[in-house]
């Protein structure tokens, strides 16, 4: 008999949820309590387990679609009556009356988010793996079995000794949907809602000061080009963002206050964390996410490049958990990846400062009394003036600028 599982209210008073990922497809056998789907509500992302054992007859919505509470999520034949699966091809979802066809065979390989992440970390492409789980689902064991590590396509552009490239793995792609929204009122939700809340809090509570500089990036570009020739096989490409992140972590170790933040409402304490955890602002289809590189000051350039590539790729594919997105003590934002020169970035709540970098481009600068065209890197430090006075902001900014102007400093420890 078909068992209709409608989207439940899994919080207290939720109205809808977004289908993030189906773990099952039409025709799959499922057990009771087996995870069927990951959904994202305004509160959290959750796996919904099957209420019955049986065969999947139809999925109520495609990935990316928002379902309202009470709409059909999935239909499962629980085997109690065999004559019953006529309505299985499509389901008409009430409300928008859009017809959702069952998932086609061309959908991306089935695997749990943790498995996707594992594959990503091991440099494996899920499309190349044979799933031995239910319905061809790729399991963690499948990933481990086929792990002769090799560079993943998405993460590792071939190491190259080509002339200087200033583009970045962290570069946001300008999607067709950017800036588009239909006429009307739209409820703030999901990542947009979270960004809105955080930014409002930061703007209301943190008195920002910004200090800006523009450094001669000649040696930086040279350093990057030369270190790329030393790339270990399979290692992720070093980008300007990698080098900036390492320089920031180094400066934060010298000035723990910049790594700290003000706490309490009203503010009543200064917190100096015992680790340096860098947030990397990342544009994704869902909106701005800031995955965290933990203990960033313990990473060398290569490890930093790997971690930034992995976490930002996971952020874009939606595989990060909330824990991967919290706990940053300082944020680096590459607003220049779309060409900007100067900006005034906002400090995320719970941090004391933010470092922004603009686009590297040839610009006229004065060198030894002459105006020359040289690549320059604009940098901006935003600081919480409750915690950081102008002198500290300047000294910190200069520490970063000095290391970027002569990146050999970064190889000298301390």
């Amino acid at each position: 008999m078909p068992h209709v599982f409608r989207l439940p209210d899994i919080g207290e008073g939720l109205e809808d949820a977004e289908i993030v990922e189906w773990y099952v497809a039409v025709g799959d056998l499922v057990d009771r309590d087996q995870a069927l789907v990951e959904v994202l509500t305004d509160k959290a992302s959750s796996d919904l387990p099957s209420p019955v054992a049986g065969t999947v007859l139809a999925l109520g919505a495609a990935e990316g679609v928002r379902l309202r509470v009470g709409e059909v999520l999935i239909e499962i034949d629980d085997g109690t009556d065999s004559k019953a699966s006529e309505t299985s091809e499509t389901l008409i979802v009430s409300g928008d009356s859009h017809t959702i066809a069952p998932r086609t065979a061309t959908a991306r390989p089935k695997a749990a988010p943790a498995t996707r992440r594992l594959a990503l970390e091991l440099g494996l492409d899920l499309a190349d793996l044979n799933g031995t789980g239910p319905g061809g689902r790729i399991t963690a064991d499948d990933v481990h079995r086929s792990a002769t590590p090799r560079p993943s396509r998405s993460l590792t552009p071939s190491a190259s000794t080509q002339p200087i490239e200033t583009e970045d793995d962290n570069e946001p792609k300008v999607g067709a949907g950017l800036g588009q929204l239909p006429v009307g009122h739209h409820t703030l939700r999901g990542v947009r809602g979270i960004v809105a809340r955080n930014m409002a809090q930061a703007w209301a509570e943190i008195p920002h000061i910004h200090t800006m500089d523009e450094l001669d990036a000649s040696l930086l570009m040279d350093f990057q080009a030369r270190i790329r020739t030393m790339d270990r096989p399979g290692a992720t490409r070093i980008t300007p963002l990698t080098i900036v992140a390492v320089a920031a972590a180094r400066a934060l170790r010298r000035f723990p206050v910049v790594n700290g933040h003000i706490e309490g409402r009203p503010a009543d304490s200064i917190v100096i964390p015992d680790g340096i955890h860098l947030g990397i602002a990342t544009a994704t289809e869902r909106g701005l996410l800031v995955p965290v590189i933990r203990h960033a000051d313990t990473l060398d350039l290569f490890a930093m490049a790997d971690q930034i590539a992995t976490t930002t790729a996971s952020a874009r594919s939606g595989d990060l958990t909330q824990a991967d997105l919290t706990g940053a003590t300082f944020t680096v934002t590459n607003y220049g990846s779309l060409g900007g020169r100067f900006a005034t970035p906002i400090i995320p709540p719970g941090q004391g400062a933010i470092l922004g970098i603009g686009a590297i481009a040839e610009r006229p600068i004065a060198v030894d009394g002459e105006v020359l065209a040289r690549p320059t890197l604009p940098v901006v430090l935003g600081a919480d003036h409750r915690l950081i006075d102008g002198d500290l902001a300047e000294v910190f900014r200069r520490a970063v600028v000095d290391d970027l102007t002569e990146p050999l400093h970064l190889l000298m420890g301390g």
Partner: protein, 341 residues
């Protein structure tokens, strides 16, 4: 001073493992839309189950908060049955048979503490043997009800055990924002009663502390405040996302001190526990909760049942509301079956 025997410890572990297994199933039932909001017991199993085993179900009372019922089965199978009835939204779920000395769960924080102290005082007035144990959390210890009840219990020398399960988090509020006191047990001084602080993940230590408090109470020496330190190993409730505020490292550290792993390791070293026993224990626990759930969802539920347990008879306003509700449900023919949250 009474350490539990190894056999008692094994019985306690069985209850803990059953509570954990049933809690997992209950979480899934909530995610399937079949029960209302649930507060998981994960991380609290030792303090709840060991307390139940240190008490006398025939004479002693337990006032739970809302997280404990799955680990209270020593007080009778009815605890699980009524808890499941509560979870599907049936008002009768909060009514336990008189032979079961467990009070209904209390959602409003700390309200159960004055009730417990009142009952304990009443028992002395009526010369009834027995003690009343009341569970509450670190968050509840900031509520006025706690202070008033603890003070009164001290004045009256009520045979009560005030068992504060300090799981470090009041939803998302960490303990250091909850109190400036060094420990919650310290507060006992202000009420003139003994306060002890114990490791709530150590079933034997819990048993011992509750037993001593019980002996004191039975000898007329009054109440004891016990602070049992544990760590909430999961969400506050099904409506909560703890990954937003609990540092991953902190949770991992707490998981290494999982009370079930700890006691299972000890008993396995004595040859009293193994994986097979755990598997059968879990299977039995799941069968039992499935049965209790089936029973709960097949229990008739009148649309106006929500009015049934407020007063002996309806006030005029309630009577009007009850009639309006009955008319509305008859008119639409939509006396919805199943879950009402």
């Amino acid at each position: 001073m009474a350490r539990p025997t190894e056999t008692q410890l094994r019985d306690i572990l069985v209850d803990m493992v059953e509570a954990r297994a049933q809690g997992g199933r209950l979480w899934n039932l909530q995610r399937q839309g079949q029960v209302g909001t649930v507060a998981p017991v994960d991380g609290h199993e030792a303090v709840v189950a060991a307390t139940a085993h240190a008490l006398d179900p025939l004479h002693d009372w337990i006032f739970p908060q809302y997280r404990e019922p799955l680990a209270l089965q020593r007080f009778g199978p009815e605890v699980l049955e009524q808890y499941m009835l509560y979870n599907v939204g049936h008002p009768d779920g909060s009514r336990l048979p008189p032979s079961v000395r467990v009070a209904p769960i209390a959602i409003s924080l700390a309200t159960q503490i004055p009730h417990a102290v009142g009952l304990a005082w009443g028992m002395t007035l009526q010369n009834e043997p027995g003690v009343v144990t009341v569970f509450f959390g670190d968050g509840s210890s900031s509520e006025g009800d706690f202070h008033e009840a603890a003070n009164l219990a001290g004045v009256l020398r009520a045979p009560a055990i005030l068992l504060c399960v300090n799981n470090q988090w009041a939803i998302s509020t960490p303990l250091h924002q909850q109190t400036a006191a060094k420990t919650l047990a310290d507060r006992a001084t202000g009420y003139g009663i003994p306060g002890v602080r114990i490791d709530g993940n150590d079933a034997a230590e819990v048993y011992d502390a509750v037993d001593q408090a019980r002996q004191r109470a039975l000898h007329g020496d009054g109440p004891t405040l016990i602070e049992a330190v544990v760590y909430r190993l999961g969400a506050h409730t099904t409506a909560d996302d703890p990954t937003r505020y609990i540092p991953a490292e902190e949770l991992e550290a707490a998981q290494r001190d999982d009370p079930i792993t700890r006691l299972a390791t000890h008993l396995a070293s004595k040859g009293l526990w193994d994986d097979e026993l755990r598997t059968t224990t879990e299977a039995e626990a799941l069968a039992r909760i499935d049965k209790a759930f089936e029973r709960a969802i097949t229990q008739p539920l009148a649309p106006d049942a929500v009015f049934d347990h407020c007063f002996t008879s309806d006030t005029p306003r309630m009577a009007r509301q009850r009639n309006a509700l009955l008319e509305a449900t008859t008119a639409t023919g939509a006396a919805e079956s199943g879950v009402s949250q």
